[in-house]
Symmetry: C2
Subunit: 210 residues, 2 copies
Amino acid sequence: MSAKSAETIPDIVIGRLPLYLRALRRLQQDDKQVTSSQELGKRLDISSAQIRKDLSHFGGFGKQGTGYQIEFLIERLQDVLQVNQDWSVVVVGAGNLGIAISHYRGFQDRGFSIADVFDISPEKIGQRIGNYVVQPVGSMAEAIHDKGIKIAMLAVPAEDAQSVADQLVEAGVRAILNYAPININVPDHVQIQYIDPVTHLQRMTYYLEA
Amino acid sequence: MSAKSAETIPDIVIGRLPLYLRALRRLQQDDKQVTSSQELGKRLDISSAQIRKDLSHFGGFGKQGTGYQIEFLIERLQDVLQVNQDWSVVVVGAGNLGIAISHYRGFQDRGFSIADVFDISPEKIGQRIGNYVVQPVGSMAEAIHDKGIKIAMLAVPAEDAQSVADQLVEAGVRAILNYAPININVPDHVQIQYIDPVTHLQRMTYYLEA
């Protein structure tokens, strides 16, 4: 992977890069061409020193006083995060959440497209969701293997999440985004991330007048 | 607000507290009573020094070598984040995502309960979603005002998100969790957070073999 340097970058730094990328793309949509660590920092509530330090892991992006070229920095971050390509993703669970994910327009142009949607329930299998026809979980492993899919989004009930995750890993998935409100155990070579609205809500209640 | 100290805590520190709280509750569910900054750090991929520094803003929680009392630290963090009470929340948008949020079991015992679900569409108004009957957006401002609601979750189409957010703020909402894949402008006295699955996916692709 040419994007990787020999240096090991802390995961917490990697976790901030998608936030930088999103902020940069918003600036670009506003027709801006140059930004600064101060401007990015203000948008993201991260100190400008932290942003400069994070970006310095990946080479020189800007000189003091001249700022960052937005287009160049976007391309470089896309390289580092390996989203300069399109990753096929499967969705497991065709309940309301799975349907909402399958219709979500935020994946577009950001490195991801949904290949298949799976469910275990006979009433859901065969149903049409936008461009997808819900496939049986029984055919999931074969599809993941045949298509070389590495990423899954998990939108099943909490009680099914661990066993589905186990099947996904067994089939070759190496990254799981879990929407179920439960902790999942995966082997060390598999990435896991959680969508947890409560952590976002709790961050805001700190500031509210009770 | 007695939970607040006179010191201004950086927002990035506040953003980590819900992660600490979640990790502590998982340790408690595993019947643990004591933990350490090392153990928490390992679970969260955050350095133990950072965790000790973050927690030191809120007083002394543990002595070197004896660790943190989990129950005490949970209570203290709940106080700081003001989730030792139950916040009533409204959901706007009764499409698939709004329905999924309304059924979500992850809010329970973490400081939040859904008071009402609103939608603009005549076909959705009056429909039953679990314990809720979908209310018309036209009655939203009055309900928010009467119930003193400060928090909203926004699950409307991207093109409607800004105008609904404006109505929410006008009605007295002070914190918005936005699920729509679009940037929202709110006044400085209003908190906004985004649910953006792509930032989580991009954090994982960094580690994948392309």
